[in-house]
């Protein structure tokens, strides 16, 4: 099969072609308003995913290491009306369905760590019963990722089994080449739908072929190296066996209990259902929620199973690295590091899981010995 390529200066044409084919385009764009913020250097929010039109193509920015905000909200919107309730005067209450608003979409330029979360979340949204909104958006949306050319101290995808050029969750992966072009790797059947938009790589036919499923492609492209930060093998069992360990208290003390990490996280998916509206007309909305909030588990009676931040912090880590793996066979984390970057208190999941991994290693060793 002819290899595909993308010349970066033809990006506008590519996006236009996709739009012409009826796709809504979502891409990372540099914020037009970044100059409004008072703090001058503010890398965290500079690049965000947004629906783009032709006038925005020039602002598409493929350079940022995981953008401030991931692509999760294009599959699980932060707030989405799911039911409408109507109480006409003189009539009894009625409800009606609100179907998810999801036109065919191509998300262009996502990072592999964001895309990798999609198949992970597929498991929870399709086990037992299918979540209509999620499934519909998944079906409607094709994801084109770009292998990372740079990484930072918060990146740890490789420690979770991912890679800066992993294709997990992607329908196509772009691998930046030395000559400034992007090698295009289509993934699976869904990826084939994207073939029409790319040019055949006539010049670069000499480019070596790699197995798209491995991350080892450094020779061919300018893919960054994310060094392993910890060995995850002992993490789950340590968590399962050390529910009351002091580590949780220590780790949680600095945590302020906001939702920045969970909202930034590509795999966090907890949500709330709330009614908003007047007597006569209200909407039931599905909103992101965070296990880090004090009132997440609080009963109306005031009883709270997890009243302390220690418990909530432990829940978050344990859910990702023990409970979810136990239930669904995969870690609820892709190593994107966004939680580390956004935490206002400088709490690092990477550091804490690293400590757990080290402890787990020792215990494993003990068990073996």
């Amino acid at each position: 099969m002819t290899p595909l390529t993308l010349k970066i200066d033809r990006l506008g044409d590519l996006l236009a072609k996709m739009a012409a084919a009826g796709f809504r385009i979502v891409a990372p764009v540099a914020s037009a308003e970044s100059d409004t913020s008072a703090t001058a250097p503010r890398p965290r929010q500079a690049v965000r995913f947004a629906v783009v039109g032709p006038q925005d193509y020039a602002r598409v920015d493929l350079t940022a290491t995981p953008a401030a905000e991931g692509i999760k909200r294009f599959f699980l919107p932060q707030s989405e009306a799911v039911v409408r309730m109507r109480q006409n005067e003189g009539q009894s209450a009625q409800v009606s369905d609100i179907s998810p608003d999801a036109p065919p979409t191509i998300i262009f330029g996502a990072r592999p760590c964001d895309a990798a979360a999609l198949p992970v979340l597929d498991r929870v949204f399709s086990w037992d019963s299918d979540d209509r909104s999620w499934s519909h958006r998944r079906q409607q949306t094709l994801v084109i990722t770009i292998a990372c050319q740079s990484s930072d101290a918060a990146c740890f995808c490789t420690s979770i089994g991912g890679a800066p050029d992993s294709t997990a969750g992607s329908d196509a992966l772009l691998v930046p080449q030395d000559d400034g072009t992007m090698q295009v790797r289509l993934v699976g059947e869904r990826g084939e739908k994207l073939r029409q938009f790319f040019d055949a790589d006539d010049a670069g036919s000499a480019a070596p072929r790699e197995d798209a499923t491995t991350g080892d492609s450094g020779k061919a492209g300018q893919v960054t190296v994310v060094p392993p930060r910890f060995d995850i093998s002992g993490v789950r069992s340590w968590i399962e066996n050390n529910f009351d360990d002091k580590l949780w208290d220590q780790a949680a003390l600095a945590c302020l209990g906001c939702g920045a990490c969970t909202y930034g996280c590509p795999t966090c998916h907890c949500f709330d259902l709330v009614d908003e509206g007047t007597e006569q007309s209200s909407l039931r909305r599905r909103n992101w929620d965070s296990c880090q909030f004090r009132n997440f588990t609080e009963h109306a009676s005031g009883h709270n199973p997890r009243p302390w931040q220690t418990q909530r912090y432990r829940q978050r880590i344990a859910h990702k690295f023990a409970y979810f793996p136990e239930r669904f066979g995969t870690t609820l984390c892709t190593g994107c590091g966004r939680c580390v970057r956004v935490c206002p208190a400088g709490v690092s999941l990477l550091e804490i899981v690293g400590r757990i991994a080290a402890k787990g290693k020792i215990e494993e060793g003990r068990a073996d010995g």
């Binding site: 006409n88 003189g90 007047t278 007597e279 006569q280």
Partner: protein
């Protein structure tokens, strides 16, 4: 489960003409949880109320909206009707279709649409109403009367006579007030002392009156039924228990030349002195400002008790153990009261406020009150009218009414009310004492409205030869050893000059100078001059906006003795009504705090106007300090509710839920109209929405 009834009143034509009441009732019928709606000609009539009662009973209503007039008018009516039907009175809300709608709009369609909205807002509110019970607070069966003038005396006696305890507080050493300074009173010319003294003695002897002289109010806490008042008593240096009032001390005091308060500085007194011969208590008092021993002690920085200067009064005191106590000190007590009567009276402006009339420059320009002392048989001149400057008999007296009164430029735009009468009285009394004397009264208008008053002034002019000049005095100057009063006779339209031995200025009556501080402590409002404000000028003339605080006498504005006495009786009656109940029912519109949400940041405590909120241990575990509202003190303004960032407090009767629903209900009219349901038949739905 809410079952709401809506009752739309036509108020005859008042609402019915501008609002389609049956349409409002029909719309209400469709509103959520409304199970009954009707319209009727007069809801407040007996049959109207009966319809409400019947509907509550038959349809088991849990809430009622009466769409009629202002709740300020008939809320009590419909609440009572609800209670009669067995529904908690606080489950009634009113939509104001009359004052706020039919009377102020001129388009029937619009007015009807608005009426439906108003009803919808109230239905939304009443669905969140809660059954409330009046708050019962025990009443301290005791009244405080502030001020020992005739008004305070009358109020104290009336209250005490009805069986309630009274504390009468007077800041000077004796009760009696200005009335005790007067010679005779108009229009009957009976002797002021003769009619007042028995009342004063009665106060002193009354088993239920505790008299506290030399005492002022320092602080007030609490609320109607339960005021907690801090009273501070100055040192008198004479033990009232021991002193028999023999007066031996008065003779020996080496200090003789202190201007006497009672005689308005026309006579002198000693450092130890009896306020006046009929004083109650009739015991001396030491003025530490003048007492040699106190002054010497003060210079040395020691107490008068430690000093050995003078002490003649103590030496001569015949009481074993001595009634003179140089070691006396101010004392403070906190007393509880159910009601407070304020009778702090008035003052007159000093002559020095009137330099144009020679006030302050010429000794013979005096106030009316000073002239009273000159006329008084017990006064410094034993009733002989003499010039202040040289003591020669006065033959020519000019009396100037409206000295400062009715003169915005002088700061008193009001009429002092008593001046016309007492100036006439002064002139008349002078003429009685000095048959060949000349009495001239300058006046602006002779205001003599009162029983026998006009006759009195007529008599002065016609029988007692008082000459009246209608006009203002422009200035007073000295010519030889006489004063000359220049003015204009506006009736004759010419200038007049009158020679005088004495010029008596009827200076404007003004509130006591420090009454504002007192009013603020009591939470009583006052006007720009400092006259205390009644709750309602017509219907609640002796009450104040602060429940349980009543007004008697001239603290409220200038008035004469019969008025002051009558008002004191009125204030006493109001206090008695309050004290005669064991418990007080208060509207349960009070704040309460959800302690689970309280962080005790202190904001509510700081904003509460009555100090009803304090920190207390929480009722739930873990125990911590939280804000707590004392229901007995809370007056239900809701400032704490809106000031609290976490919205821990809420206000019964006006809860967040109730107001939230009322606000949201303003949207539902439009939503209903858009859905083609009932709602606003006006063009608004179309035009307004299209524009959105």
């Amino acid at each position: 489960m809410a079952r709401i009834g809506v009752f739309v009143c036509w108020c005859g034509e008042n609402i019915g003409r501008m609002v389609d009441c049956p349409a409002v009732a029909a719309a209400a019928r469709d509103m959520s949880q409304v199970v009954h709606a009707e319209d009727y000609k007069y809801m407040c009539s007996d049959p109207g109320q009966q319809r409400l009662i019947d509907a509550i009973r038959q349809k088991h209503l849990t809430g009622v909206v009466v769409a009629s007039c202002s709740p300020r008018m008939h809320e009590p009516t419909f609440r009572a009707a609800a209670e009669a039907a067995g529904l908690n009175q606080f489950m009634v809300e009113m939509a104001n279709l009359r004052e706020h709608c039919s009377w102020v709009h001129d388009d029937r369609q619009e007015a009807t649409a608005k009426s439906i909205d108003l009803v919808r807002m109230m239905v939304a509110k009443v669905r969140r109403n809660e059954r409330l019970s009046p708050i019962r607070v025990p009443i301290t069966d005791r009244a405080l009367v502030i001020g020992g003038g005739i008004a305070g005396i009358q109020a104290a006696l009336d209250i005490a006579d009805s069986g309630h305890e009274v504390v009468l507080v007077e800041r000077s050493p004796s009760i009696g007030g200005h009335m005790s300074q007067l010679s005779e009173t108009f229009p009957t010319l009976d002797c002021s002392q003769c009619i007042l003294t028995p009342r004063m003695v009665e106060v002193a002897r009354h088993p239920r009156i505790r008299l506290m002289t030399c005492t002022e109010l320092q602080d007030v806490e609490g609320y109607v039924g339960n005021f907690s008042v801090t009273l501070e008593t100055r040192a008198r240096y004479v033990d009232l228990e021991r002193c028999t009032g023999c007066g031996a001390c008065l003779e020996v005091c080496p200090v003789k030349n202190v201007p006497g308060e009672f005689d308005e500085s026309l006579a002198t007194r000693g450092a130890i002195y009896r306020p006046f011969p009929q004083a109650v208590p009739n015991k001396p008092v030491i003025d530490p400002q003048c007492c040699l021993r106190h002054k010497a002690a003060g210079r040395k920085g020691i107490s008068a008790a430690e000093s050995n200067v003078c002490g003649k009064c103590a030496e001569v005191c015949p009481i074993p153990g001595k009634a003179i106590d140089f070691g006396d000190a101010p004392s403070t007590v906190v007393e509880n009261f159910g009601a407070i009567v304020v009778a702090t009276g008035f003052d007159v402006r000093p002559v020095s406020d009137f330099p144009e009339y020679g006030g302050g420059r010429f000794a013979d320009v005096i106030t009316g009150l000073q002239f009273e002392r000159l006329l008084s048989a017990s006064g410094p001149t034993e009733g002989q009218v003499r010039r202040v400057s040289d003591g020669r008999p006065a033959r020519r007296v000019v009396l100037v009414a409206c000295a400062g009164s009715r003169d915005a430029a002088k700061g008193c735009a009001y009429c002092s009310k008593i001046c016309c009468m007492y100036s006439s009285k002064h002139a008349m009394l002078f003429r009685h004492k000095c048959h060949d004397g000349q009495a001239t009264v300058f006046y602006m208008d002779l205001r003599a409205a009162g029983k026998g008053y006009d006759e009195f002034t007529r008599r002065a002019a016609e029988e007692d030869g008082v000459s009246y000049v209608r006009g203002r005095v422009s200035r007073v100057y000295r010519r030889g050893d006489s004063l000359v009063v220049c003015g204009v006779d506006t009736l004759l339209g010419r200038k007049v000059e009158v020679e005088a031995d004495l010029v008596v200025l009827a200076t404007a009556a003004v509130p006591q100078k420090d009454v504002r501080q007192l009013a603020q402590k009591l939470g009583v409002s006052y006007d720009s001059h400092g006259w205390l404000s009644e709750a309602h000028p017509k219907l609640r003339p002796v009450e104040t906006a602060t429940a349980g605080v009543f007004l008697a006498g001239a603290c409220q504005g200038p008035r004469d003795i019969p008025e002051a006495v009558a008002q004191a009786g009125g204030a006493a009656a109001k206090a008695m009504v309050l004290l005669s109940k064991r418990m007080l029912d208060r509207e349960p519109i009070v704040a309460r705090i959800d302690e689970r949400a309280c962080d005790l940041c202190g904001t509510c405590i700081k904003v509460c106007p009555v100090g009803a909120i304090e920190a207390q241990p929480s009722g739930s575990r873990p125990v911590r300090q939280v804000a707590f509202v004392n229901e007995g003190l809370c007056i239900g303004c809701g400032t704490c509710v809106a000031s609290c960032r976490s919205k821990a407090p809420d206000l019964a009767g006006f809860t967040d839920q109730q107001l939230y629903r009322s606000i949201l209900a303003t949207a539902d009219g439009t939503i209903a109209a858009a859905a083609g349901g009932n709602g606003q038949p006006s063009a608004k739905g179309d035009a307004g929405e299209a524009g959105r």
